[in-house]
């Protein structure tokens, strides 16, 4: 049992770096924000840490856990600022990264360009060697060719080398030997092989993932090594952990080896936190709704588990859905499944060629930001409309740190939107809100109906700076009955870092129909994967008792090209157990696609093991008992506009003054330093014991 101390979570965002500290003994959470430092992101982390010490009085030597989420990996891909990386592939397949999957994602766009290859052709070498689908050697590895290629790449000054041979997930010997040869020639290079990174079939996806890992490797491992050293200098001795795209954390040394796994770390942390606080409110079927400055995102939590997908694409712009996405760099790492639309507080309202009102996807960001920020922004945003409709306070923005310029916002909005549309200022503001709402509704509907689910069966968890402003109205439109607004929703991703478990995912391709004689060897493979996981967790001091193991299998009907993941109970894989697994597959297929093919052959494609090192859940301090009226938190009210409903005189509450079991009735508005919560008429809201706000529809 670890000693009680402080847990620290730090989330680097585009504008701010958020730090959250949990005092484990008192159960108290403190937060602070510092400006991000894009030229050297670790600077902001250290600034935040120092302020945590000087302003919040945190004894850094008593930090027991330090978890970090960062956009550094993602930005490295977007900015194409990765390391100079060479690539070795099987001869005949040199153009995998150019050919990609040969799709066209925009049907009528003659100017459509594919993303440029991650690694250019002249740094890619085909090596004579071949392994077949059964893992047999068709052609032995040409070691001399490997040596010649690596020496040529060394001359070209590569810092990293990615190796991806066909069917290496069946037999990694050629990749391993090639890496050995390369290491002897380039001892300081970051060398990564596909059978380590993604031992799964589909050569383009595997090569792309391995290439990304190579491109990120030198920079990310350096960044993490330096940060770890700086934390040590600041007396923080807790291991540095990184949030992965899958919502679990891993040790910085593993993150340095597998940087392709931390690309979506910030958004993943948000959904983990949503699941955590939804769980505290007793809810396990959740839609996590995160609305920030540029985009709104939505993820699903089913039965307490965050919905994952097997991979993601980076660099193709905003994708409303993983199913409809396309065109970016593929990364085959388990990733929290998020839909996204270009609707955030900073999204710009504009009139198109036909004088129709549009909102987004362009955003004013934080600098210059909305007109009301007075930082030189001259384009009307959602935040400006919210301000003029009383939906956010003018004098209390960011806890009063920023005063908003209402007059300027009013003039600009009148000039740019209301006048050309020949409508009143109020109507123009309302119109911006309604258009933004429509695009978020579209996203939330697609997230659920795409999976055959009804939003009414879910509770919405609204967070991000703008999530609580829109959350309850959106839930109302979708026929949902409950909304949870967690504590400090504007810093939720950082809080997710405090609640996340250590997690290692392993997935290996088996690919084939299963005969009864194969079961023992499948069992063995599972055991090998689990041993790898226990090793990794053990290295970082996680006791065997707090390790949870889950097995699952990716399965498909023989003629299909895509798989479904089906859970498999632990224990020896007997014929009955395998039968149960197949039956489970049929059922899952039927639930998702409305049919089963009872006579069709079922194939086992990948073996999957997830090892979780459980972190003790934070114990939050309970708030003092309140009353049915919440009078103690009440301040002077104002008029507020609710979408589709109109203007209402609203009671106004200070969130920090709310107590346990306080209940209040809409229309109402709750203000806090990091975000404002709108409670429409027909909804009531209760504050729970730890400060979660729980809104329900009346009647």
């Amino acid at each position: 049992m670890q000693q009680e101390g402080f847990r620290v979570g730090v989330d680097i965002g585009g504008t701010f770096t958020d730090l959250v500290v949990l005092d484990e003994r008192a159960g108290e959470v403190r937060t602070l924000k510092v400006p991000s430092t894009p030229h050297d992101p670790s600077q902001a982390v250290l600034n935040a840490v120092r302020r945590a010490h000087s302003e919040l009085g945190i004894d850094l030597s008593r930090v027991t856990q330090f978890t970090h989420a960062t956009t550094v990996a993602c930005n490295t891909i977007l900015e194409a600022s990765g390391a100079r990386t060479g690539l070795l592939v099987t001869e005949g397949f040199r153009d995998l990264l150019q050919i990609q999957r040969h799709k066209r994602f925009r049907l009528f766009d003659l100017a459509y360009k594919k993303i440029p290859a991650l690694i250019p052709r002249h740094l890619t070498f085909g090596i004579p060697e071949r392994i077949d689908a059964a893992g047999g050697v068709v052609q032995p590895l040409d070691e001399a060719a490997v040596g010649a290629a690596v020496r040529a790449l060394a001359e070209d000054g590569i810092e990293a080398l990615a190796i991806c041979f066909l069917f290496s997930f069946r037999n990694p010997a050629h990749e391993q030997r090639a890496a050995e040869i390369a290491r002897a020639i380039l001892p300081d290079a970051f060398i990564t092989i596909s059978s380590d990174v993604l031992p799964q079939y589909r050569e383009y996806e595997r090569t792309s993932t391995t290439a990304v890992n190579g491109l990120l490797g030198p920079r990310i491992s350096r960044y993490l090594r330096n940060m770890n050293a700086s934390l040590e200098e600041n007396e923080i001795h807790a291991p540095l952990h990184l949030m992965q795209s899958n919502g679990g954390v891993l040790h910085w040394q593993d993150a340095g080896r597998m940087p392709c796994r931390i690309v979506e770390s910030g958004p993943a942390a948000g959904v983990i936190a949503a699941a955590h606080f939804g769980g505290i409110a007793g809810r396990k079927q959740l839609i996590a709704f995160d609305m920030g400055g540029t985009t709104a995102k939505a993820g699903l939590v089913e039965d307490g588990n965050v919905r994952q997908c097997d991979g993601q694409e980076v660099g193709a712009g905003i994708n409303i859905s993983r199913v409809l996405q396309g065109g970016g760099y593929y990364i085959g790492a388990p990733t929290v499944d998020l839909a996204e639309v270009g609707a955030g507080g900073g999204s710009i309202a504009w009139l198109d060629d036909g004088a129709m009102l549009k909102v987004g996807p362009r955003s004013a960001g934080a600098d210059p930001g909305p007109v009301a920020y007075g930082l030189g922004g001259e384009e009307v945003t959602v935040t400006d409309a919210n301000l003029l409709l009383g939906r956010i306070p003018a004098d209390h923005f960011l806890g009063g740190e920023m005063k908003l310029d209402v007059e300027h916002a009013r003039e600009t909005l009148a000039q740019k939107i209301a006048k050309p549309l020949r409508i009143s200022l109020d109507e123009a503001c309302a119109a911006i809100i309604e258009v933004a709402t429509a695009s978020m509704l579209k996203m939330l509907r697609i997230v659920t109906v795409e999976k055959g689910l009804d939003p009414a069966d879910f509770t919405l968890v609204a967070f991000g700076g703008n999530g609580p402003v829109f959350g309850i109205e959106l839930a109302d439109e979708l026929g949902m009955r409950e909304v949870v607004i967690p504590p400090a929703p504007g810093l939720l991703s950082a809080q997710g870092l405090l609640a996340a478990d250590l997690r290692y995912d392993f997935r290996q391709t088996y690919a084939g129909a299963v005969a009864s004689t194969d079961l023992a060897s499948i069992d063995e493979r599972f055991a090998t994967l689990e041993a790898q996981g226990r090793n990794a967790l053990g290295r970082y001091g996680i006791g065997q008792a707090s390790i949870a193991v889950t097995r699952s299998a990716d399965m498909r009907y023989r003629r299909q090209a895509y798989e479904l993941n089906v859970p498999l109970p632990l224990g020896p894989l007997t014929a009955e157990r395998y039968q149960a697994l197949v039956e489970n597959f049929h059922q899952t297929h039927e639930r998702l696609y409305g049919r089963r093919d009872a006579v069709g052959a079922v194939e086992l494609v990948n073996l999957c093991v997830t090892m979780t090192g459980n972190v003790r859940r934070p114990d939050y301090r309970e708030l003092p008992e309140g009353n049915a009226k919440a009078d103690h938190a009440r301040k002077s009210g104002r008029r507020v506009f609710f979408a589709n409903r109109g203007w209402f005189d609203c009671a106004c509450y200070e969130r920090s003054q709310l107590r346990a079991e306080d209940t209040l009735q809409g229309p109402a508005i709750i203000e806090a330093a990091d975000s404002t919560t709108l409670v429409p008429p027909d909804w009531s809201l209760r504050c729970d014991r730890i400060g979660n706000l729980f809104a329900t529809r009346k009647g």
Binding site: Q100, H102, L421
Partner: protein, 635 residues
């Protein structure tokens, strides 16, 4: 932008519709069609629907005009609207009742092949038809012959005239019985039918919800406003095209019957102010083989080209924007074929028709067009039995090719042809795990992109070795008639098919047609997709860029010297500037290089064409099913 704004806001009386409701209605339409798409993909029985996206869902007004459609493939831009209009003509709104579902697959209405079963629900509100919700999906089998080339529609399967599949909510069992008796996979057909009905009902539901929420007049007004805006913007963009008459000609290799007999595609485009007229009167007459398509497909060609050139990204697909284009297309052409012409491969020729419209307009809008592309899916079909269990397999694979260059950039490499879209290739690791095949090579084709100031995109080459006996089939066009260049750019390589028997020399197939070729273990088949045409004279391409192409291996040193006039310092890839200038001047003086996309070999000798009287094989039921299911648009 400000000009268009003034036009709309200042000088025209505004309709009594609220711009906000209009934007919300627009979003609702998109969400509704997305939902229809999702439901169809989740519940359909056949892979073609959810992997090749061979379907269309959509919402239409009471006259059958497109309000919003979700399409998987560009050529579906037109099909369903014409089908709804035909259904309205057939029954009249008065003879439609709530709960009716109308069905047809009439190839001369849909313009495509018989696999496209199209269902439509008239949407009633207060007893009045306010719109239609429709779904077309490609059924894997609709009966018909399995023996290669067809020469009339009767050989292609079940023809379903316009009928009511449901009458006032009750299934019309007679229709279902007819379907079940005429298709090889009745259960799957019924499964797809149910999925399509679920999709059209979802569209109906969302449309009615929208009317309940915003009121019928507001919604109808908003829909009209959306169409009017699209029209105004489209007209504005046509006005930007200089007035004039623009013409172009291209050729298909042949119709599969008269081998080597070129088929001319001639188009004439007239632009006058805010109107564009595309005249396809001089496109070849309908042909004997199954490459015909109907009038609707001819319209689609024009609208796809129009959309690519005027609003590729910013307007949703609705009929407002297409009010700005007129099409002249007499019946009996290869893209307005009449009964009983054969239609199975309907989507192949239209790709070249679209490219030819770009070519015609090139002098007018140099900055918007692209040079010719490979214009074929380059599909091959391989069948055989797995050695381990003697089970039958059939593998139908396609590869991407090169696209034409543009005024400011090189063409795309290795990308699927224009009539397909979000369709992926098969990973070698999947092919080899499922079939006794070994992919030896899948790579860009050096020098396949047409030379130009901007180079055409590169085609690809795939070499696949048989590891046990297989049969191999290919029907590929644009082998001889290669993707043309523009403004002095040169043609790319054509598509090609070959086999390489173990220990022998590679053998090419004349005109890309290979029927029922038996390959033994160790033999390989090879397919090569064409490259795009170049744009601008190759002599104007920056020599340093040519040198980089040589370093990357996209262009050989020989081709760099011969086609681009670049001279290198001996033994290096470093450009010799003065020698290059001299060589280029000399080539210019001789009028080199010359673009020659259509080789002058009219009526090439019919060379080993056993295709349409090959032996009648005895097939097992299993083989029939597998082969029946292998067809898809343009395969």
């Amino acid at each position: 932008m400000s000009e268009a704004l003034a036009y709309q806001v200042g000088t025209q009386p505004r309709r009594e519709v609220d711009p906000v409701t209009t934007e919300i209605v627009r979003n609702c339409l998109i969400a509704a069609t997305e939902e229809m798409k999702t439901i169809l993909m989740r519940t359909a029985y056949n892979m073609i629907i959810y992997e090749a996206l061979d379907f269309t869902v959509g919402l239409f007004d009471a006259e059958g005009n497109t309000l919003s459609i979700g399409i998987g493939l560009p050529m579906f831009i037109r099909g369903m609207s014409e089908t709804v209009k035909a259904k309205i003509r057939h029954y009249g709104l008065a003879r439609m009742k709530p709960g009716d579902i109308l069905l047809t697959n009439d190839a001369y209405i849909t313009g495509s092949h018989l696999n496209h079963m199209t269902f439509s629900v008239p949407i009633f509100h207060d007893g009045i038809v306010v719109g239609f919700s429709c779904c077309m999906a490609h059924w894997p089998d609709v009966g018909g012959t399995l023996h290669g080339l067809t020469t009339d529609i009767y050989a292609e399967g079940l023809q379903m005239p316009i009928v009511k599949a449901y009458r006032e909510g009750q299934p019309n069992e007679d229709v279902f019985d007819i379907i079940r008796m005429n298709v090889r996979l009745p259960d799957r057909a019924m499964g797809d039918l149910r999925a399509q009905i679920a999709a059209v009902r979802a569209g109906e539901r969302r449309f009615l919800e929208m009317i309940e929420k915003y009121g019928r007049d507001q919604v109808v007004g908003s829909l009209a406003a959306i169409m009017d805006q699209s029209e105004a913007i489209a007209r504005e963009r046509v006005r930007e095209i200089p007035d004039g008459v623009y013409e172009a000609e291209s050729f298909m290799d042949d119709d599969g019957v008269s081998i080597g007999k070129r088929i001319p595609i001639r188009v004439r485009v007239e632009v006058r102010g805010e109107r564009m007229t595309v005249d396809l009167s001089d496109v070849a007459a309908q042909v004997a083989g199954f490459y015909n398509s109907g009038y609707t497909a001819g319209l689609s060609c024009c609208q796809v080209a129009f959309k690519c050139l005027t609003s590729p990204l910013d307007l949703p697909i609705n009929d407002g924007q297409f009010r700005a284009i007129d099409v002249i297309l007499p019946p009996g052409k290869v893209v307005s074929a009449v009964r009983p012409s054969a239609m199975r491969m309907w989507m192949l020729f239209p790709m070249t028709v679209i490219d030819t419209i770009f070519k015609a307009l090139a002098p007018a809008i140099q900055n918007k067009v692209i040079a010719g592309h490979h214009a074929d899916l380059v599909v091959t079909r391989v069948s055989g039995r797995r050695p381990e269990d003697n089970s039958l397999f059939l593998f139908s694979g396609l590869i991407g090719g090169g696209w034409g260059a543009k005024h400011d950039s090189d063409g795309r490499c290795a990308t699927v042809a224009i009539n397909d879209g979000d369709t992926h290739n098969s990973p070698a690791e999947q092919i080899e795990a499922k079939f006794p095949l070994l992919v030896e090579r899948y790579a860009l084709r050096q020098d396949s992109g047409g030379a130009g100031e901007h180079r055409g995109g590169l085609g690809t080459e795939q070499i696949v070795q048989a590891r046990s006996q297989i049969r191999f089939h290919a029907q590929i066009d644009r082998v001889k008639c290669r993707p043309w260049g523009l403004f002095g750019g040169v043609a790319g390589f054509g598509n090609a098919v070959a086999i390489h028997r173990f220990g022998e020399k590679e053998q090419q197939f004349n005109n890309g047609k290979a029927f029922n070729i038996v390959l033994e273990a160790g033999d390989a088949y090879i397919k090569r997709s064409g490259g795009g045409g170049g744009f601008g004279s190759p002599l104007d391409r920056d020599a340093a860029v040519v040198a980089d192409d040589v370093i990357q291996g996209y262009v050989s040193k020989d081709a760099a010297e011969k086609n681009y006039g670049v001279a290198f310092l001996p033994g290096t890839t470093n450009v010799d500037p003065s020698a290059t200038a001299a060589r280029r001047a000399e080539m210019r003086a001789k009028g080199l290089p010359v673009d020659d996309p259509v080789p002058d070999e009219q009526a090439a000798k019919p060379h080993g064409h056993v295709h349409h009287h090959h032996e009648q094989e005895v097939m097992s039921d299993e083989e029939r099913l597998v082969i029946a299911m292998s067809g898809r648009c343009c395969s």
